[in-house]
Symmetry: C2
Subunit: 232 residues, 2 copies
């Protein structure tokens, strides 16, 4: 389902003298329906890898295929289409996952609205999704009126609203207590099984990573190992 | 140093029918120079408690004293002064800790500039603080050009720039891998010992909480126990 070869990403800026080789030759394969985690130190390139898979940033070099689309060859318009239709994302920075001025129920409805889902159907589905993540008593709250963990859960419901084939989640349990994190992971696994969604989760938490099918380790912009949990 | 009695905070909004009793009678004492953690489920009131101690929001009722100031009795101007001079804060939402358009070295300098520190002295101190949190090779980066963990570390350096008497940190290790989290906590403890800063850290991580002098447990807006780590 996903194939990555020799992926390189260098952040460069002419105005400042910044030049950061964030990804230095990533190789990765993910089968359809797999639920994998990527683990690694701060600054090792995890978010950058997700940004590329989400079509949010272009590779500097390398081959990246998601399903039947070679995303390193897309132009801006094609990449925007890919982003909106194929991928559900939950970012590390909470303000990127929700529109801060809208109640969360409208946030969850928005991806469905863009796809032309009827008003009744999206209201029903939005309530279901928010109930699944434990937020049925907060559906009219706007993000500033929620706790950190509630914002993250609302973001997850929004990422799944348009039933994407690929879910990319950057630290989805970062703001959650262990009890809520566990519930969320059970929900992820159920979705993964019942809808066959392929999911890549970035996490710092080995306990969380151990709930997935496969663990990939990244260090300094390169893949340094598979299933490190067994070796730890 | 800190004394809280019967603290109540109810979020209310007349336009929507939201009424959330976030804190339902908090009692807490913290001695000068103590380094305590507050642990509890998502939505239990941790951030709300910190917002009140930071002078960012007013109590609905109750007594709150920090050092020799009774903060529940302050007017808006006095509260703004208290915020700027007495407290260093690191919030759960990264965009609140830094000015997103400025390089991080200027972010760290800003609190010192507001206090009239000379240009040479604040440049020197800002570099030292950023070095302490492992960011000496990123000082010219702006927050969008940093990883999640790097943003958090830059936020911590900024919180300490004006040498506050009280440090409030909401999930300071949330975005960090266990290695970087451990280093950060060692740094917190050193500061706590050498400067006598009183520090309150909110965390979901029992491992992290166990590095502090005292653990306070909060559930549904009330304190439900002390030092739960020993009972676990
Ligand atoms: N826009 C950018 N411009 C320049 N450098 C960048 C930019 N974005 C990220 N970097 C740098 O690239 C490296 C990798 O960043 P990335 O966000 O992928 O790390 P990460 O593995 O997600 O880290 P964390 O666990 O802290 O979130 C970091 O050292 C960071 O400073
Ligand atoms: N501005 C607001 N208006 C209405 N309700 C609010 C507001 N801010 C927070 N709440 C509610 O108050 C409760 C406590 O929120 P708080 O942010 O203090 O929780 P928390 O313990 O920090 O949770 P987390 O661990 O998820 O960050 C939550 O249920 C939340 O929905
Ligand atoms: Mg990241
Ligand atoms: Mg919080």
């Amino acid at each position: 389902f996903i194939e990555i070869q020799d992926l390189i990403k260098i952040y460069e800026s002419k105005e400042t003298f910044i030049r950061v080789p964030a990804l230095r030759g990533i190789e990765l394969q993910v089968k359809k329906g797999e639920f994998i985690s990527i683990i690694g130190p701060s600054g090792s390139g995890k978010t950058t890898l997700l940004l590329i898979l989400a079509g949010m940033t272009e590779p500097s070099a390398g081959y990246v295929r998601v399903d039947d689309i070679q995303i390193d060859k897309l132009d801006d318009t094609q990449r925007a289409y890919y982003r909106r239709n194929h991928v559900g994302t939950l970012w590390q920075l909470p303000t990127r996952n929700l529109i801060w001025e809208l109640p969360i129920i409208e946030n969850v409805e928005l991806p469905m609205r863009l796809l032309g889902v009827t008003r009744e159907e999206r209201k029903k589905r939005a309530k279901e999704l928010l109930k699944e993540v434990g937020l049925e008593h907060r559906i009219e709250h706007k993000p500033p009126q929620l706790s950190g963990g509630e914002v993250q859960r609302a973001g997850l419901a929004t990422a799944l609203a348009h039933q994407p084939k690929l879910l990319l989640a950057d630290e989805p349990t970062g703001e959650l207590d262990s009890h809520t994190a566990e519930e969320l992971l059970i929900y992820f696994r159920d979705l993964n099984k019942s809808y066959g969604i392929t999911a890549i989760m970035v996490t710092h938490d080995y306990f969380v990573a151990s709930k997935t099918n496969k663990i990939v380790q990244i260090v300094d912009g390169r893949i340094s190992g598979y299933n490190p949990a067994r070796e730890l």
